[in-house]
Each structure stands twice: as C-alpha cells, then as structure tokens.
C-alpha cells in the first residue's frame, strides 16, 4: 500500500490561513489502512482545526481519491467551501485539484512510500515502482529499494552484521537479505552473474509514466 503520515499541524494551519470554510476530505483506501488519512483521522483532525484555526471544517471521506468517480459524492459539499484539505496521498490530492480546478487543494499528509505494515505503528519501504521488476532473480527481495544505494551487485563494504551502515540500528542490509534468501533457496550461483546496468528509463527518470491497456480500454 501507499504509506503516508500527517504533516505537522503548524504547516497545515499555514495553508489554511485566510480561508473560512474548508472541506477536510479523507480517503478510504491506503491511507485509511495506514491510519493516516481515513475517516477516523478526519474526525480527529477536524476539531483541532476548528479550534486552532477558527474555521468551518465540514468532514467527508470518499472511497478513493485516486479515482475521479468517487468525488461525485462530495461535489455539492465542496461548492460551499473555499478550499479542500485532502487527507489522501499525493495522488489523491492531485486528482482533487484536477476535478475542482477553481478551488485551492492542500495536502494534510506527506506521502512516504509503497511499503508493508510490519507491526503496530511500523511500516517499511519495499517497492520503488521501477517498472522492471527483478524480484524473481533476487529471491523476492528488491535491491533497488532495500539497498540504500540501489546496487545491482551488492552488498557494499558498509554491510555489517546484516545491517546497513546508513542506519545500522533500524535498516537491514538489503543485499544480506538477498544473500540469505538465495542461500536458503540453493540459488547463490545467481550472484556470480554481473547484471547489466539498470534501464532507468522505465522509472521516473524516463519522465512521468503512463500506462494504457487496449484490452481494457475497449470494455
């Protein structure tokens, strides 16, 4: 899922200065699951803003802010507001801004990464969406995301006791994880090969990416 966290309240209040009535709009998908911008977080943040910023703050949460159709449910409500504070990820914020082109839309969250929920209140990044998945080669552990330097031929000299020198207390060395997995699977010979330089044009380095599928477009 997409993992996000709420921005500092002072930053949010800064956005809202000068506004009178702001729709606080939650999203029912990823940010609900990671407890950052769902119905519950909307209900918590709204009274804080009403008190602190002296605002009218109507609340609403739609199923997904990354899909235009779900905004129909709040169109009327938005008419009476002079801005939207979106509690979605950056994708949802942009969709809201596109649909309500004459209203200011502000983000209440910082979008962090695509990751897993490891334990209560713990998430970690696992996928950079590089567009060319090599998990099949590397034992199901992503070198692009899990290695601090995205090395194709790790681990580097900074791998000690299974941890990465960049953050030895919290971050495992992705390449140690790859090594351990391949050892378990009896596939260590894979690491003797030298992979070609990565084709970064399939990532964001090639520009904002689009996907169009004819098989679905016709439906």
């Amino acid at each position: 899922m997409i993992v996000a966290e709420q921005k500092p309240i002072e930053e949010i209040k800064g956005f809202l200065a000068g506004h009178k009535r702001v729709l606080l709009l939650g999203c029912g998908t990823c940010v609900t699951v990671c407890l950052a911008g769902g119905e519950r977080e909307v209900a918590t943040l709204a009274p804080v803003l009403r008190m602190a910023a002296d605002l009218d703050v109507p609340e609403s949460t739609i199923e997904r802010q990354c899909d235009a159709e779900f905004f129909d449910a709040v169109k009327q409500q938005i008419e009476s507001c002079d801005a939207i504070l979106s509690m979605a990820c950056g994708v949802g914020v942009q969709m809201a801004a596109k649909i309500f082109s004459d209203k200011p839309v502000y983000p209440a969250l910082n979008t962090m990464f695509c990751g897993t929920n490891d334990a209560a209140g713990q998430w970690s990044e696992n996928c950079l969406a590089c567009g060319d998945c090599k998990l099949g080669v590397f034992g199901g552990v992503c070198p692009v995301t899990r290695c601090s330097k995205s090395l194709s031929n790790g681990p580097c000299g900074g791998s000690v006791n299974g941890m990465c020198e960049v953050d030895p207390d919290n971050t495992e060395c992705g390449w140690q994880l790859i090594y351990d997995r391949l050892k378990t699977l009896g596939k260590l010979d894979v690491l003797a090969d030298n992979p070609e330089p990565k084709d970064w044009s399939k990532t964001h380095d090639g520009g904002p990416r689009k996907l169009s599928r004819e098989d679905i477009a016709g439906l």
Binding site: A192, N194, P197
Partner: protein
C-alpha cells in the same frame, strides 16, 4: 627482446606487470581552493611511491575534484590513480570525465561505489548510483578494449572518424572484512569478470581474516587474474584506533592493537611500528602484489613508514 603489450601503458601497470612489489599512497584533495595543500602533499609523495590515489569527495565531503587534483599531481611528478565514485555522476558524466582525464594524461582509475551522502556535509543531496562499481569497471573496460560507450556506440567523433578510446588501467576496491564473509571473494571474482586489473583492499588490521580471504582468493586463482595491493592505515593515536574499530563499517581492528596504542608512550611511533609490522607480514603472503598506504590526513608519515619497511630501495 619480447615487447610486452600493455592495456594502458601506465607506469603503475608496467610496475605490476614486471612483478615489482608496488607501493601506492593516497592524497586527499583539500576542502578549499588551496593549491598549497596539494603541493605540500604532492612533494612528500613525489618520487617515493609508485602511484598515488586521488580521492573523489571521500566520505561524501565536497573537496577539489579528483580529476583536477590528479592532473595537478601529474604535473608535480606523481603517477595519479584517479578515484571515481558512482554516487555523484551518472554514466554520461563518468564517460565524459574519463575521456577528459585520459586526454590530460591520467592513465589509472579506481572504480568505487562511493560512501552514502548521509555521512558527508551535504546529507540532503540526491545521490546518483546510476551504475554501481562493478558496472563502472565494465564500462571503463569496454571503453578501452572494445572502443564503445555504455550505450554500445563506438567512441569516435563522426561516422568516418577513427575510434579513439581512453585506455585506462582499471582498479577497484575490495573489502575482505565486510559481511557476508563467504561472499567477499565472489564479489572479487565479479570485479575480475567485469575487467578489473588491480585491487586495493580496505585497510587491514585483522591479519588472520585477511589471510583466510587470500586463501580463498588463491584457491580460485584470482591473484593471477588481477594484482592485489593490500591496504594499510597507520594509527595516529589510541582514540583513532578505537574509532576505526567502533565506527567505521567494514573495518575490523583486533583489541590487541588498541591495547598497544593505549600503552604506548609515543602513540604516533607505535602506530608506525604496527604499520611496518603489518606491511612486513603482508609482503610474505602469496598473491599480494603490493601495499596501499592510506595515511588519512597524515601524508607526511608515509616516507617514514616506507623507509622503516625497507621499501625505499625497491
């Protein structure tokens, strides 16, 4: 007389091919536009060692560029080994810099991944890591041997022009002490497969572990496929020895060295003594083609180490 065909023709290559025990040192460029610092360090090392590594924004701290200092060192009579990390440049910048360095007379390159920027003085910078060190080795070897860029295009100025490749003697680092230990020699093999000519190791204190690694190297015959220079770093003080043990990832310092440094009346002399002992032991190991003395911000001690180790009259 049989003429040897060299890959790059660099002095370092000739020395290593001849089988002479090589000595290299390091020159860290200054953090300001201060030519005097470079001159002082170059004067100490000129004529003393076979080649000198010019570090590339080491520990991710901005310094005078390795290419510029390599050229300055060359003009001061030093055979430079230009270090190049993958942290700050993509494949375009690297290839362009290699072409430029070659035209300025630089013939040795050390291909490194590079320290993460979080350790340096610009921790909020974006890193590059377009390639990693092994892919960089491959790229430099392809430029030299196949006359092609990373894209596969020939290195020539127009369709009809002649191919004019940069011919570099290609080095890389090896760390026998990082984890996982059993993978370390595989990683060396990967660098050899990529086309590396010489290796300089991380600084060695734990001689047993280094010898165990060299045994693996010899069992794969890797010491015959590239020249291995063993890295040493003299301790300047007991706190430095402790720092190396506790804070530097991938460096293993046995406690008995810490004790020796703590007990010593003259810590600097003891540091030199330990370093000379290490060099003498390393020279006895089959497959070690030379030593790389990394006297970090202590270049002035290198002459004494070389003299005491009996390497002056090589």
């Amino acid at each position: 007389m049989i003429e040897t065909k060299y890959k790059s023709g660099s002095s370092l290559e000739k020395i290593l091919v001849a089988g002479t025990f090589a000595v290299t040192a390091e020159l860290g460029p200054p953090k300001s536009a201060d030519l005097d610092v470079i001159k002082e360090k170059a004067e100490i090392l000129s004529g003393l060692v076979d080649a000198v590594n010019i570090t590339d924004n080491q520990t991710a701290i901005v310094r005078v560029s390795s290419i510029a200092v390599a050229k300055l060192a060359l003009d001061m009579g030093i055979e430079p080994i230009m270090q190049m990390t993958c942290r700050d440049r993509n494949r375009l910048a690297m290839q362009s810099d290699i072409l430029g360095a070659y035209l300025m007379g630089i013939r040795n390159i050390l291909c490194l991944t590079g320290d993460h920027q979080c350790f340096g003085n610009h921790p909020t910078a974006k890193n590059v890591f377009d390639l990693d060190s092994i892919q960089l080795i491959s790229m430099v070897a392809d430029m030299r041997d196949a006359g092609i860029f990373a894209s596969g295009e020939q290195i020539k100025n127009s369709r009809k022009a002649e191919v004019k490749p940069p011919k570099m003697f290609i080095g890389a680092a090896a760390n026998p002490f990082a984890d996982p230990f059993e993978f370390r020699v595989v990683r060396l093999q990967k660098k050899i497969n990529a086309g590396v000519d010489f290796i300089q190791t991380q600084c060695i204190y734990d001689m047993e572990r280094f010898e165990a690694w060299m045994e693996q190297v010899r069992s794969r015959n890797l010491h015959k496929k590239c020249k291995i220079l063993a890295g040493v770093t003299p301790f300047k003080s007991a706190p430095m020895a402790r720092y190396m043990r506790d804070k530097v990832a991938g460096v293993s310092v046995p406690d008995y060295y810490i004790e020796r440094m703590q007990k010593a009346k003259d810590a600097k002399a003891e540091g030199v003594e330990i370093c000379v002992e290490q060099i003498n032991r390393l020279r006895e190991i089959e497959g070690v083609a030379g030593v790389h003395i990394m006297a970090i911000e202590w270049e002035q001690i290198v002459p004494r180490i070389i003299e005491k180790a009996g390497l002056k009259s090589r």
